[in-house]
Symmetry: C2
Subunit: 404 residues, 2 copies
């Protein structure tokens, strides 16, 4: 009897989402009880359009190796949130039936886990024999239950080493200076908090971290900056794109509103939160300040990925394929760590209904009392996640990729 596995990817790119895909495909092709392995182009959109490709070529280990170092989604992505109910479910399961799909694995973040939850529920309620499994992915690290998410460690490592190199760049002249680094993460500050890991015994450039979990008080902030820059010549301030003012509104949305009446060009030219913070420091304290937006490079940098992240992402993908092969449904693969001094992770899975549509923020005990840094508990939590450097394959200086 034909039993095919279908895989899709969804949501924003990361450096590790293809490592998870590699794990799924590698396990499914070699150990899974499947007759075929298919990829859906552009996530659930590809399912609706029956836009599938065969994944047989990944029997070759060198292709798996390249896939692991290819950032962004090999199978493309979509931002398609399924409705609570409707024809679309019948349509999707008709496609599954037509293509003899016995299992569907969806790799993605919060919205994708919502899709997994809805599809697995529909399947169970309508007696469909299709396993639906989620494999997590998000640089935001905001999925609940699982200890951390694939993609986070690599993005964090990019932030850490970019800051370390910028720190040397900025202290080269003998003058006071501030760098404001704007970091992704609208609601949860995990990635911004990772800036703290840039500090070690030899170089300790990051003194202030502004998280979305802490309401931003301008005068309190400026006092802190002033004190810091009195003590040392130069400092780096890590700011989440999602910081909010005392009224609870995003600083960014306040800025957008205040220029909404301005003409198009000014609006286009308006920088983000980083530029705003740069402005209030230089205006109020008269210190040379420069803002840097790490931009999308922070989520798609495979060249300097964390080996820990890539390996764990691969293993979580493989576990997804194993569970799918066993006919398990309605779960998200995840990772936990044993308690103790050393980092000892293990792969597990969670009921998808307990994961979907929830958001994990940084807990209070990981944020310093004054709200402008993280505690040792965060450092201990996050440090192992950025460790190790994958061996990258280059060709004439160019990083090589596996592309469709």
């Amino acid at each position: 009897m034909e039993r095919n596995l279908l895989i899709g990817q969804s949501g924003g790119p990361t450096a590790a989402i293809n490592a998870s895909l590699a794990g799924v495909v590698d396990y499914a092709l070699h150990y899974g009880k499947f007759t075929g392995v298919l990829g859906s182009i552009n996530g659930i959109d590809g399912v609706l359009e029956e836009n599938f490709i065969g994944m047989e070529k990944f029997r070759a280990p060198e292709r798996i190796r390249l896939l692991k170092q290819t950032p962004s989604s090999y199978l493309g992505s979509c931002r398609h949130k399924l409705p609570d109910e409707g024809e679309v479910y019948e349509q999707i399961f008709k496609v599954f039936e037509k293509h003899k799909i016995s299992a569907f694995i969806y790799i993605g973040g919060n919205d994708s886990m919502d899709t997994v939850e809805k599809l697995s529920r529909y399947g169970a309620e309508n007696g469909k024999n299709v396993a639906v499994i989620g494999v997590p992915k998000t640089i935001d690290n905001d999925l609940v239950l699982t200890d951390h998410t694939p993609g986070y460690g690599s993005a964090a490592k990019y932030i850490v080493n970019s800051i370390r190199q910028l720190a040397l760049d900025t202290c080269v002249y003998d003058m006071k200076s501030v760098i404001v680094a704007e970091i992704m993460g609208r609601n949860a500050g995990w990635l911004t908090a990772a800036a703290s890991l840039a500090n070690d015994n030899h170089l300790s450039p990051v003194d202030i971290i502004c998280l979305p979990e802490v309401l931003f008080d301008t005068s309190d902030f400026l006092t802190h900056v002033e004190k810091t820059i009195e003590e040392k010549n130069s400092t780096i301030i890590a700011v989440s794109e999602g910081i909010r003012g005392r009224n609870g509104d995003y600083i960014l949305s306040g800025l957008a509103k205040s220029t909404a009446a301005a003409d198009g060009f000014r609006h286009a030219a308006l920088g983000g939160v980083g530029r705003y913070i740069e402005h209030i420091i230089s205006e109020n304290l008269g210190i040379k300040t420069r803002s840097i937006e790490f931009s999308t490079l922070q989520r798609c940098n495979s060249e300097t990925a964390s080996l820990c992240d890539i390996d764990e992402s691969f293993l979580q993908g493989a576990e997804g394929a194993r569970l799918a092969s066993e006919g398990e449904t309605g779960v998200m693969v995840g990772i936990l760590r044993k308690s103790g001094a050393d980092y000892e992770p293990y792969i597990t899975s969670f009921d998808i209904s307990l994961v979907a549509n929830r958001e994990k923020k940084i807990p209070e005990e990981m944020i310093s009392k004054n709200g402008f840094f993280v505690t040792d508990e965060f450092i201990k939590y996050a440090s192992p996640l950025i460790s190790g450097q994958p061996k990258i394959i280059y060709n004439g200086g160019r990083i090589e990729f596996e592309v469709r």
Copy 2:
């Protein structure tokens, strides 16, 4: 008789300037005819302030290794252009005499070579027995005579692989999109041109390159973008920060002028050329466009440096120390390549008076006829310079540095 070597670094940071320093120090300590090796803190300013440190600790190979992977200037930097004549020269040579300096090596770009020229001329004219040698450094690659400059290959490699990774990030959704990448280089477009090397047989994201050597015509540009985006879904446009309009003025300075009357915040919020180009594309062609400024990371990224660049920078530093040890003066070390199909570089040196205060732009034959790309001649010239990946030493995921 005491004979000390003094070394200084000057100008903007690069990923390779410390590799040159490592070359100078390594040669000087092991093979040079010197009694001591000193470093001047913050370039020529350190000479005037007699702010020197001993470099003995670099006898240890592991310190040399770390120094080679430390971006920015280990000895600090300055932007101090010496006057044509004046007391300062007497003052500098008095310091040299006091500290028994028999040779002074200055690692830097255009302005630093001006300093080398002036000091060596003053020395020769006043019978001073101090060798003054320049070792080049600039990501701009704009020094004359030498084939290419230390720092350029690493910055170019950073641009290439950042663009390749961004290209995968941007094409993930099924929609038309443009990325505008703003790249450093005010007058010479060598670094911007390196974006062309991001293209290979599998992935060819860069279609348009705007160089400072070619006057920017907006309507011509938009026609080109429109045609490109008709043919493919997404494209990356590389734009030099120094592009100039048809009147010969920097586009950037035009922008600054037009907002000079606006309030401080708008001025601070004003993006660079990249944002301007983003704006004219999205306004005129209605295509989703995002601009990315690579910022100072493009010049200080050691993690993904070019091995060719790091090795050549080290060798040029060593050659500087050798020449200084031989009592040679008034020269800049450089590199040339043998003609032929393969890349065969060799280290040499040039009369400093032929180098200082000149600027090498991209020659016409390396720019495509329509002005929006480079020719194969450029590709052939630049390709070897980005090759090879240095083995980087990390500690728990953090790149390690040698810091003062």
